[in-house]
């Protein structure tokens, strides 16, 4: 259920918010017309699997899965990212959102600390030399 909602949301974002041209929308629907590709997309909306891990999930060759990922990538539905020997696949919406949230949290933690440092300093430097 959650995954289907995520899929619809991504598609909606690409079409409506992304303002795609007609041929790009054709490509999008072609990419979504295949059940294996839809399943790959669902997996990538909630995680960041590698191409080889995806390949293990389907009774088809590694090359076939790679081709499916390429179609999804051309349609703008997923992004491939090389890390070491692996190629990780994620939906744009999922990956970007997660990265931003984590960096925001890290920033808030350290901003709070710096503000408190400033308080500690102002409490210990009651008088400054003229």
């Amino acid at each position: 259920m959650y995954r289907t909602v995520a899929l619809i949301w991504i598609t909606y974002n690409l079409m409506v918010v992304g303002g795609l041209a007609d041929d790009a929308i054709d490509e999008l629907f072609r990419a979504l017309a295949d059940p294996t590709r839809r399943d790959i997309l669902r997996r990538c909306a909630v995680g960041e699997p590698s191409v080889s891990r995806l390949a293990q999930a389907y009774p088809v060759s590694f090359a076939a899965v790679q081709k499916h990922v390429a179609v999804l990538e051309r349609a703008g539905l997923v992004t491939k990212e090389r890390r070491g020997r692996e190629q990780l696949v994620s939906t744009n919406a999922g990956a970007v959102g997660r990265a931003r949230r984590a960096l925001d949290e890290l920033e808030r933690t350290w901003s709070g600390r710096v503000e408190r440092m400033s308080d500690v300093l102002s409490q210990s430097t009651t008088r400054r030399p003229a």
Partner: protein, 161 residues
């Protein structure tokens, strides 16, 4: 407001904070080198910090715990990579168990601090970097309470001002 700028570097998974503090560089250094001062800013008001070990030398460790309102305790450990008083330090920051051992699967960040004399005061640059995207994902699971608490404490400070 001592924070001058906050930059988020998505490519390098880093946050860079620059603050201008109205105190000489030696006093700003003491915020890090004096465990009693460190305790006063490390945790948000709702989660005060207690520093246990404090060895601010290369290869040394700083271990601490924060106590939440429900008596819940979370431990952290810093492993110092480089220390150059009173201008810079670099360490990895990890969630730890009670003897200071980092807990596998919890996020690790690298923190670099640089202090420079700036007018009458001190400019402090803090660069906080996630080691990997896994660490970033783990931070979202672990760090939210902390992050929210920070935000709340900032609001409190604003209201009190």
């Amino acid at each position: 407001m001592s924070i001058r700028s906050v930059d988020t570097d998505h490519d390098n998974l880093a946050v860079i904070l620059i603050a201008d503090l109205a105190a000489p560089i030696e006093q700003v250094w003491e915020l890090w080198s004096d465990p009693r001062k460190l305790e006063r800013w490390l945790g948000p008001p709702s989660h005060p910090a207690t520093v246990e070990q404090h060895d601010l030398t290369p290869g040394g460790e700083v271990t601490f715990f924060m106590t939440g309102p429900e008596g819940d305790v979370s431990w952290g450990t810093w492993r110092l990579a480089a220390v150059d008083p009173p201008v810079s330090l670099e360490f990895t920051d990890a969630f730890a168990d009670t003897d200071g051992t980092p807990i596998a699967g919890t996020p690790v960040t690298t923190i670099r601090v640089q202090l420079t004399e700036h007018g009458d005061g001190t400019r402090m640059e803090i660069r906080a970097t996630f080691e990997s995207r896994e660490d970033m994902a783990a931070w979202l699971n672990m760090g939210t309470v902390d992050g929210l608490q920070q935000a709340v404490s900032q609001m409190d400070a604003l209201l009190a001002a």
